[in-house]
Amino acid sequence: MVYELAQKDERVLFIGSDLGPGVLDDFKKNIPERFFMEGIAEQHIIGMAAGLAFDGFIPYVNTIAVFLTRRCFEQLALDLCLHDLPVKLIGNGGGLVYAPLGPTHQAIEDIGILRTLPNMTIVAPCDAEEMKRLIVASLQWPHPMYIRLAKGSDSIVSKPELGFEIGKGIQLKPTGEVLFVTTGITTQRALNAAKILVDEEIKCGVFHMHTIKPFDHEGLMQAAESAELIVTIEEHVLNGGLGSAVLEVFSDRGIIKKVVRLGIPDVFSEKYGSQDILMESFGLDSETIIEMVRLRL
């Protein structure tokens, strides 16, 4: 997708660290002057991207999400956010995608730490089709942006007719007595849960917040207005992520809502297996979501 952007716009360039062999070969072959594989040097890569952005380039930086957020946090804060430069960060394996590789590779606090940075934008698309729409929109976005990628083969649930705008949540299912507020691939989990709960005559809406920062306060307020129970679902620690952002919106406006937050507790994962297995162990599967609704509604 970045290759297509680069073909159309000479400002676009790609910077990777040490990705797998063959990544973006077409880009490298056809636009070699704007393709950089810079080695395992994330601090430098972010600074270099900033230097290029100062002079008009729009760098898309790609590596594993944990290395793009934990390793070079100061560079993100100062080189990108303090200067408010339009560098785009594409983090592979957001959340628990790299489950078998253990906690060193699981990006479970990326959203929380990046939410604290002024000028940073955070987007977690739910599927590959939404990612395509995001990449197109990202080109004109004038600020630093972190894109949290899932594994790429998740079921397509986004709908082109609902459009895509950075900073604007999407109501994928109308609000009932319950509203699921989701981001990334927890949207699929919520849609499944909503489908099953219909049979129990519990109507659940789904508000997909692909953009966690800037947060769509108004969209959330509207979506949540008629709901008796709000359930936030995130593949992220409960500290500082989507659920926290939702609570902040209600608290700041003095609105009392029943909110249940589902996410990863304040621990590193102790298991391997797969993304699905770890999500289940943290209660982020459709069955646990359904049980939580039955219990708390």
Binding site: Q43, H44, G47, A50, G51, A53, D55, Q75, L78, H83
Partner: protein, 277 residues
């Protein structure tokens, strides 16, 4: 070699312009009552020569894409950059008298977007070189003749990001990038040789792919002469190991780690500085 170079840096007298810039520096810190005096005085001549004789810029057109870029990666030495920028007309001299005041554009570290002529906000160490590599690369990609000069502290080279950037600069054959290592041999805690020894410093930069030259960082004529020869090699970035003296020009502060940074400077301290010049 180091001892001889260090002694030469200590011995070389300052000319009238260098003393004038130091007077401006004292006036500036007098209003803020604080500064990294030692860290700024070791780079005064490097910055002076850069702006007087090397960098291409136009104060009436600061965004000219063809300008040369200067990044003070060791942002805490900004007192020297502030007085030179004011002297060259980037902003009014009166701004110096508001150093570190609430409404000042001049804080304890230089900020992009606030101070005309500052190309990047620095202060946290190890950031200026990667940014400089990006700017030098951008110039090459856009076929501009812009050159990029970066000053890093000797203590700053403790940071791994400096060496990441050095490898990258060599990989991209950035002959338009020049790095000045302010080798004043003192960092915040004490002597660099004791905290984390950068030696063999010249060999290190050479092995990382730079054309390396050791010079007296207070010798204005030598600095001019060497800068006029850049680039030394068409396919390599350049590193100047600048032998300098922390606190140069203020005998009571020279080579004294306690003058790395001082706050709450007293009137007597300020007077002592004026008396030294």
């Amino acid at each position: 070699m180091n001892d001889i170079m260090h002694q030469a840096a200590l011995d070389i007298p300052l000319d009238e312009r260098s003393r004038y810039l130091r007077k401006m520096a004292v006036k500036t810190l007098e209003s803020g009552k604080r500064a990294h005096l030692g860290s700024a005085m070791s780079i005064m001549e490097i910055i002076r020569v850069l702006y007087d004789d090397f960098l291409q810029y136009d104060v009436s057109n600061l965004n000219n894409p063809n300008r040369d870029r200067f990044i003070l990666s060791k942002g805490h030495g900004c007192l020297a950059q502030y007085v030179v920028l004011a002297d060259k007309g980037f902003f009014d001299n009166k701004e110096l008298l508001k150093f570190c005041h609430e409404d000042s554009i001049l804080g304890g570290h230089p900020e992009y977007g606030k101070i005309p002529g500052v190309e990047a906000s620095t202060g946290a160490l190890g950031h200026g070189m990667p940014i400089g590599v990006g700017m030098a690369l951008a110039a090459k990609l856009q076929k501009r003749k812009s050159r990029v000069a970066v000053i890093v502290g000797d203590g700053e080279t403790n940071e791994g990001s400096i060496w990441e950037a050095a490898m990258s600069a060599a990989k991209h054959k950035l002959s338009n990038l020049t790095v000045f290592i302010d080798y004043n041999k003192i960092q915040s805690y004490g002597f660099v040789s004791e905290v984390l020894n950068p030696e063999p410093i010249a060999d290190k930069w050479t092995s990382f792919g730079f054309a390396v030259k050791e010079i007296n960082g207070h010798d204005v004529n030598e600095l001019k002469k060497q800068l006029s020869k850049l680039p030394y090699r068409n396919q390599k970035p350049t590193a100047f190991i600048c032998h300098t003296i922390k606190g140069k020009g203020f005998p009571f502060a020279e080579n004294d780690p306690t003058w790395h940074h001082k706050s709450n400077l007293s009137d007597a301290d300020i007077q002592k500085m004026y008396d030294s010049i």
